[in-house]
Amino acid sequence: MEAGVALSELGRPTQDASRPVWVQLLLRSLHQRHMQIGLALTLFMIALAVLGPLFAPHSPSAFVAAPFSTPSAQAPLGTDYLGDDVLSRVLNGGASVVALSFAATAFGVLLGVIVGLIAGYSRSFVDDALMGVSDVVLSFPQIVLVLVFVSILGPKLWLIVVVVGLSHSPRVARLTRSVTLELIKREYVESAELLGISRRRIFVQEILPNLVTPLLVETGLRLTWSIGVIAALSFLGFGIQAPHADWGLMINENRSGLTQNVWSVMAPIMCIALFTIGTNLMTEGLSRTVTGIDSTGEAP
């Protein structure tokens, strides 16, 4: 008898066969107002970041008018500390924020899921060891952990993605571990094990599908935090380096001209704020759809 057939007869919770649960959940969340506004906002900001360079009136590093000029026909949002067009730099400065924060989130969630699965499934000292390491990583304030690593190695982009991802992974690992521990106690997983079905197959067919729903909300939270940390790093001067355009970096560069051309700081700030509000609204919508009640919030 085929293993796949056997599994379906072992009392696995019945689901709508046509679509996985998490797809149904996503579709259902689209009726949620938080989700609708958040998704629209997030997609708009991503589009702005990706397609922005096509619409920029000037090169992001071309001198347009005197430094910190107020808005004019030439430069609709005025100029920055070097006399470059603020609008063009804003349109060019989102790609790095979006790319780095998505990459860091993806890496962190992937790492967390792998660690959590191994810890939850190991039933040995490996569990204690992995969770111990997670707790140490969790003890670092995120920004401090990243700063410690860039202090000597320098602000390399891969390093930022890896360390920000690493700082996210413990929470994902804990969540994955607790779901896994819960699942492997269930009869259909025990039966599958007794039937000699490989662990990999049990992961893929039984555990992963049940992980996706709680992970969706967690991933949303992680994404919002990634955007904040990555923008903060650039703002501190340890992220993307000049002369590249980057929202966080722009804030830092133009702070001294706040009183002369407020848009040179306000424009990148609003982009970061709208992006994080968008991703957070999406997460809130998802979480309300999953729980059916108000979400409890998350540690800052």
Partner: protein
Amino acid sequence: MSVSAQDLAQLELASAPVVPRQRRNLWVLRRVLVGLATLVALSIVIFAATQALPGNAAKEILGHNGTPAEVATLTHQLGLDRPVVSQYLSWAGHAVTGNFGSSLANREPVTTLLDPAILKSAILLFLSATISLIVAFALGVLAAARRDRAVDHAINAFSFFFTAVPEFVIALWLVMLFGTTVFKILPAVSLFPPGAGAFSDPQVYVLPVATLVLATVPYLTRLVRGSMIDAMESQYVRMARYKGLSERRILVRHALPNALVPAIQGMAQNLGYLAGGIVVIEYVFGFPGIGTALTQAIGVRDIPVVQASSLILASFYVVVNLIADLLVVFVTPRLRTGG
């Protein structure tokens, strides 16, 4: 591995009659040991990232301009010519006694450099945490008492907004609003004249504290609101209502204590968050605290200062969580007596 108060509660409930006090003491001992082990692990990570990485840290610090002689001197000064384990042990041994070596930038002992910064950051943290606690309790209780009404929704929207937006964005909005563009009533930069004490100009604390309060209030408010609502629906509050107690008295005397444990845990989370938050916020305001010391030291690759300030910030989180866990055990009657 961490042991939470919940673990202890489960242990108490699941086990056969035991000597409760002894069991609790064992738990406390174990929790303290876990905290100490975490501190050691933190110091290893910081040391490894700053001094034990492959490649020559001395060369990295001096850049392309360093002559071989300079590199050799710095290598010796940092102790990089010794085995890694012995480097770590001597660094950690000195760190325990509060000796973090000398700053590479100006040759002063690191502690002389950091002490005034730590004091100012501590004041910043204390003010922020205290005000945040008071505001969060007020808002949380108010939201719970007016559940699902306009006030509740307004508080919810406020919480949502300030949770979503990164803290340095809040800081810069406040600067524009009160420091530079709209009103010019508060200092946008936290200047301390040389030699002046930490309280020479209390105004410089206003905007940094306001930022950190806005960033930490939402999480705590939601916790307080949640536990108040749980309490309001409980049997004992219904009983109090039957007895004819006023709603106000029920709220303050019967429901509020229920928010104590979540509030302690929420405060610990918030303080831990603040240890990272002050790094960015101090930078925004040029506030001369430990966060600024860290970012400046990274800028000039002053390793001893980077090590000391990051270790202090990270240890703070561990210690706060340890204290919070112990507090929870001592304020929860069921855990205190084991009954």
